[in-house]
Amino acid sequence: MLKYILRRIILVIPVLILVSVIVFFIIQLPPGDYVTHFAAEMAAQGETLTQEEMDELRATLNLDRHWFVQYLFWMKDILLHFDFGHSFNYDEPVTAVIDRYMALTLIVSFITMAFTYLVAIPIGIYSAVKHYSIGDYIASTIGFLGMATPNFLLAIILMYFSYVNFGDPLLGLFSSEYENAAWSWGKVWDLAKHMVIPIIVIGTASTAGLIRIMRGQLLDEINKPNVVTARSKGLSESRILFKYPTRAALNPIVSTFGWTLSNIFTGSTITAIVLNLPIQGPVMYNALLGQDMYLAGTWLLFMAILTVLGTLISDILLAWLDPKIRTEIKGG
């Protein structure tokens, strides 16, 4: 098992190198660069940059070199100094920008993820066991509504209700009085209050999908002969349900964990903009708009790493859950 994990980790390295090249290539693809964007901004303020000034700026930022040379410079700094370059928009190191938003992003993401699984799996099980019952229809209807409603729309609706009922749309993650305050119980409570809407909004979309997957998988498993065998031994229905079909139905859910991990970071961009959440999504969005290439590149690279990592985690989990895969690993 350890050998398998090690081999998988080693195999990840060439994938990441390839991904980073592609990421960088794509980032510099759009016509123009940060300098043209900067010049346009200046022009909007009434100042014009001469061609000379622009060329000079390009030279200092290494933007006049071939993209692959730029890539090599970038990689060298990452590997040697853990320096992901400079964010032009924020005028500070990329790591500092990402750092600032990381903690809150992680909190929002993981709570949302936990919410998704904790809500979706039990509802999925219920829908499958009592399929075609009223409860199943209600769960399916809400699920489909959740899937079909655009996240930002749901966000606006919830904000409206919050404003009407509590006099506060609960924008952002903190109230203004806690925004820059030190951590205290009051601040945690304030954060918890502000988390409700984001979690519901970001969570429902994936919850709905997960309910359908869980329900479908379980319905498949519930009619398998091994369930009848278990029943013929005299086991109680609930014992059978959790020991056999539910456990088997978890496999495909675990294997989707890979992209859920990165999805939860990016999927919430528009919602985060609408709800004014201080998390990574909007930062990334602005970086792409402003051709802030190092910030955007780092962010994309980060997403790629998360996807690869997520896949690795789900593969390990699958091997742990499924003895058949485990033997194949031992054998090969």
């Binding site: 002969p225 009848v228 031994k233 086991l235 109680s236 229905e237 056999y244 033997t327």
Partner: protein
């Protein structure tokens, strides 16, 4: 005759007595009579063969004995179970029990257990075979895990799995088909059931393995003394294993007799056809004789012989207009066919 003998009288009731069992399945706009008025007895320690082609209701019948049919099946009639060991289990009608309730669960696996057709899918791929065998033992025999493991290992040895300590911790995919079926048999027999229901236990296996598994079941029956209900479409298996045979066609038992009678003195045209369609060694004939036609759907077939369209001896105006009565030919031979009932007489009387 002494007093003891008289006291034992009630024990002569058959172990399992199926009376007028009906299983109906509600279709979109009709009712399918999947099992229609099936009756038979299983005596203690004996083997009854239930034979018939796919879809004739033999599996549904056998599963209803453990109340394992899907809830779409509307089951009526009686399945009376008389335990010879447990006095509380006397005249229990399994049809009336709640299929998820405690009572039926105390019968399943402990008193009546089952071997399924597909050893590949009957075991869960996610747990070791040790875990799956111990499950029933822990439920019905002992709460002690060590003791349960001991029983499980002994069962594995009995079904001919060598190196059982190592095999105990292996998963089903590490076993061949025949070995898996042995595991399933070990599982079914782990609680010394009084009745073993074997639903096509060898259909999915190679011919050589089939013979081994049958031989194994026979020797285990000799050792444990359980009765067997053997569900199969394979007449060869029936000839080898059974004391009595019930032939099913389209949800009805069309002929019921001892195994000798069925093979040497078949009465029902369907039974005759079945035996003719069986290949025989050293036979002069080049071709087998298949039964012509296909099985109709068991919808609105109550007042007609289900075999009518395929029967070479049908009597028009009789077989297709009324329900066929069961005729007792001798003490151990009954047939459901107008050729053997005095339909003319009945007509007059009616």
């Amino acid at each position: 005759m002494n007093v003891n003998n008289i006291k034992q009288q009630p024990e002569e009731k058959p172990l399992l007595s199926v009376k007028n069992l009906n299983i109906e399945i509600q279709m979109d706009n009709a009712v399918l009579n999947a099992v229609d008025g099936v009756s038979f007895n299983i005596e203690k320690g004996k083997t009854l063969g239930l034979v018939g082609e796919s879809g004739c209701g033999k599996s549904l019948t056998s599963r209803s004995i453990m109340s394992l049919n899907p809830k779409e099946c509307e089951t009526t009639g009686e399945i009376l179970y008389n335990s010879t060991i447990d006095k509380k289990m006397n005249n229990v009608n399994i049809v009336d029990l709640d299929p998820t309730g405690k009572k039926v669960r105390s019968i399943r696996g402990k008193k009546i257990s089952m071997i399924f057709q597909e050893p590949m899918t009957a075991l869960s791929p996610l747990y070791t075979i040790g875990n799956q065998i111990m499950e029933a033992i822990l439920l019905h025999r002992t709460k002690n895990k060590k003791e349960a493991k001991k029983i499980a290992l002994e069962m594995l040895r009995k079904v001919g799995i060598s190196d059982e300590e190592k095999r105990f911790d292996q998963y089903p995919h590490e076993f061949s088909g025949g070995m898996r079926q042995r595991v399933v048999i070990a599982m079914a027999l782990s609680c010394n059931p009084e009745l073993l229901i074997a639903d096509e236990p060898t259909t999915a296996l190679d011919v050589t393995i089939q013979a081994q598994v049958m031989e194994l079941m026979k020797s285990l029956q000799y050792e444990f003394g359980m009765a067997i209900l053997l569900v199969t479409h394979d007449l060869g298996v029936i000839a080898e294993m059974c004391d009595e045979v019930a032939v099913m066609y389209l949800g009805k038992v069309v002929e019921k007799a001892s195994v000798r009678e069925i093979f040497y003195n078949p009465k029902h045209p369907y039974t005759k056809g079945l035996i003719k369609s069986m290949p025989k060694l050293g036979s002069e004939k080049k071709r087998l004789e298949p039964i012509e036609g296909t099985v109709p759907l068991a919808i609105n077939m109550r007042n007609k012989c289900g075999f009518y369209d395929r029967c070479s001896e049908r009597i028009a105006g009789v077989c297709d207009v009324k329900a066929v009565p069961d005729t007792q030919l001798s003490a151990d031979h009954s047939v459901r066919c107008f050729l053997y009932s005095e339909y003319g007489e009945e007509e007059k009387n009616a």
